[in-house]
Symmetry: C2
Subunit: 204 residues, 2 copies
């Protein structure tokens, strides 16, 4: 983690405390592994702060239940049982978003992505969560399913103190421009280069 | 996550299944954020598989309890209570390793690092864990406190199926050479560049 003093004190009219508590837009991009894993690691940390966690999984996510979903939902139930940590909602696009009962349009990924973004906008307006993870959200943007300008404007104008983490390759320049924190995960070496397939517990 | 077929089928005499279940040495390096967070995310995933998780935190770790420690230890207790997931041991260098009662040498970081590595070697030989996270382990290597060749040889020869994840900047070339999977986290943009300090829930 970065330590010490910031490189410059900005002339933004905010106190250190206000600046410290600024809601962050975080982007994990690049071709390497760890983008989603680090985002769910942040969710873990946020849960421990008692934050309300909302995960929206676009694309891959949808088809199966990854380990993080099981664990974070378990932590959400622990919160209900004991009051520890915070509540967790996990929404995924796969076979229809969890807030809808529609299963029929599961094949229309573009429509499902648009529906997901519309819900995220509602949640942001309502300040439902303290931390939102928009997993692999860069893809529906890159494919033109969701309007980048709408996303950037909505995020810039979100009320209150809502942290947002977006993951995925090929993040739009406008999104990077709007982000407070951007990390690029670069693949240096991967077992698949040596002919090895993905394995349980490591890849999912 | 990487999908599809590996680029080449290696001529290593292993079956696909053997190759798939090969224990991995994973390194998260680079100057960006997410190295440790992604490693703890993998621990989360491993816990969900019922793996025995051992975390060894070098350096920073030591001084305070980060969110991941609270949550992963809580998941370890959940395992004891309900049998869900796997057991979790969290060892940190800070004020003396948890398996020793010595507090006196907390100031001698080089000696504490050497002691930590000796314990890791014993655990590897005993196959105590299915996943070991050696957090910020690159630093005692970079500082010459622990011998890189000893580490690489020990890891190459570790018995059974023990995954090892090592995090930290400036990973030694020998370590990268020995690793199966290396991701470099690169800082593209960070709030501290804009004069913002770290904040709870995001940085720790």
């Amino acid at each position: 983690m970065p330590q010490g003093q910031p490189a410059a004190v900005p002339n933004d009219g905010l106190t250190t405390r206000q600046r410290r508590n600024k809601p962050l837009l975080v982007v994990h991009t690049g071709d390497g592994k760890g983008k989603s894993t680090a985002a769910f690691g942040l969710a873990l940390r946020g849960w421990n702060q008692g934050w309300r966690i909302g995960v929206f999984q676009f694309v891959k996510s949808a088809k199966w239940r990854i380990g993080e979903q099981t664990v974070l939902e378990r932590l959400g139930r622990l919160h209900e049982e004991t009051g520890e940590g915070g509540p967790v909602d996990w929404h995924k696009m796969g076979s229809g978003w969890s807030w809808t009962r529609k299963q029929g349009d599961a094949e229309d990924h573009a429509a499902a992505a648009v529906e997901g973004w519309a819900e995220i906008k509602r949640r942001l307006a309502d300040e439902t969560y303290d931390l939102l993870v928009l997993d692999e959200f860069t893809y529906p943007l890159a494919w033109g399913w969701i309007d980048v300008d709408d996303v950037v404007t909505t995020l810039r104008e979100r009320p209150g103190r809502q942290h947002v983490v977006i993951t995925g390759r090929r993040a739009a320049p406008e999104l990077l421009e709007a982000a407070d924190l951007v990390t690029e995960m670069t693949k240096v070496k991967h077992p698949m280069d040596a002919g090895q397939k993905g394995q349980r517990g490591i890849e999912w």
